[in-house]
Amino acid sequence: MLKGHQSWIFEKKPVIRAAATVVGPFEGQGPLSNDFDIVHGDLMAGQDSWEKAERTLMEEAGKLAIENAGLTKEQVNFYIGGDLMNQIISTSFAARTLTIPYIGVFGACSTSMESLALAAMIVNSGSAQFALAGACSHNASAEKQFRYPTEYGSQKPPTAQFTVTGAGACVLSQEGQGLHVTSATIGRIVDMGIKDPFNMGAAMAPAAVDTIEAHFRDMQLEPGYYDLIVTGDLSKIGYAIANDLFNKHKFPIEQTQYQDCGMLIYDYQKQQVQAGASGCACSAVVTYGHLLKRMRKGELRRILVVATGALLSPISYQQGESIPCIAHAVSIEGEVEPK
């Protein structure tokens, strides 16, 4: 149901029946490694190309999520997902393996929440009994497509971000107990004229702020309603800018805890990731792995995940275009009755 200008309330409260996360070796060395279901020791995931490796991660996450939900893939009505590769090949090829009726979406790194919002809407409307939502990215395939060959010895500036290797998926169902997807806010494109593809945090921060403010305006809530608000992959610089913007707009973000997935997944002291993490998988694995586990433990009851995406292409930035950015917010809430 539409609420306000750009938000949906899912009054049937689709249930997150299960989720699964698969990550690469570098993420496995990070502080959240225990929260992931599969940690690959090999960046190639046993395949012979980066693209196939990325696809494998997505297939594994999808299969595992369905298995964890106690379902077979025939029971899942729709699979909604996307990734960063041209023509979203990783997800489409994974959908070929999963053989679930498939809707491919692209929102760059915001795909994780874009797919979850759409899956929730489909389930909520009664158009599906079960829907699978997922997103994946791979550090090397993203470097290859957007930047330089992985082994090329270029120096990254301190504003650069490290694309997460991983895949996250979750199964939504109409009925059940557990965590619910309660609402979503679809963002609009915000472009502040930033052109530097090595400074995506600064490019995306205004989009995140725009969507967060729109969410609370539409829902007529205060930030304190949530125990945690996380943005997808703004990383250090974008996070600092987002806080500046909240201050400037006098938005009471201090009522709640505000974090960024891009700052949670790696250890800044031990891992050389410059500003932090990015990629579709960043918000996907942190949310589906780390945050849902914290919610199940009862540490958090309501969270708002705001996945941020930089909608650039290698061609658009070479032609001197600025980076259009977007953010989509999805709220996840635990059972209403207190434990």
């Binding site: 012979d48 290859k144 090329y152 010895g153 270029s154 600064a202 913007l245």
Partner: protein, 161 residues
């Protein structure tokens, strides 16, 4: 030019970019220069060492020794690239490892390795020069212009006194 670029931005965009600029850590230019100087120097010392070896042990004269020296440096760079070490050196050293001939070898071999999955012709063959290509093109153009200037101003060719 920068002013021209700024004019296209709306006032809101300009205001935001000023705000964002404050949060952007600047590149450590001095440290980068120092590291580049150090690593670039070390690579040159290694090169000099290799050249001396060719001169003293293999009986090359100084001029003839330069070709095999470059070849050895290129092989070393490709081996380091293949083992995934050269890009780590590159992050620390910056221009220090990018400018010498080893950097050129790294740019070609890394592209060749990366695009091997697209086959030998369309992958390795076509994409190998992805990064090194512009260096060759503009190197040739610059050499042409210099040669032209040389021809015009060199009295030996023009036949001046």
């Amino acid at each position: 030019m920068p002013n021209n670029k700024k004019k296209k931005l709306t006032p809101v965009q300009q205001e935001y970019q000023q705000l964002a600029k404050k949060r952007e850590p600047s590149r450590p230019v001095f440290a980068n220069c120092l590291r580049a100087f150090l690593v670039g120097g070390i690579i040159c010392v290694i090169g000099q060492g290799i050249q001396e070896m060719f001169v003293h042990w293999a009986g090359f004269d100084e001029k003839k020794a330069s070709s095999p020296t470059v070849a050895v440096l290129i092989i070393l760079s490709i081996v380091l690239t293949s083992f995934g070490i050269y890009d780590k050196i590159g992050q620390w050293a910056g221009a220090g490892s990018a400018v010498p001939v080893t950097g050129f070898a790294n740019s070609m071999s890394s592209a060749a390795i990366e695009h091997r999955s697209e086959g030998l012709v369309y992958g390795v063959g076509a994409k190998m020069f992805k990064i090194a290509g512009p260096v060759i093109v503009f190197g040739t153009v610059a050499a042409f212009i210099i040669a032209l200037l040389h021809m015009i101003f060199n009295p030996d060719i023009v036949g001046g006194s």
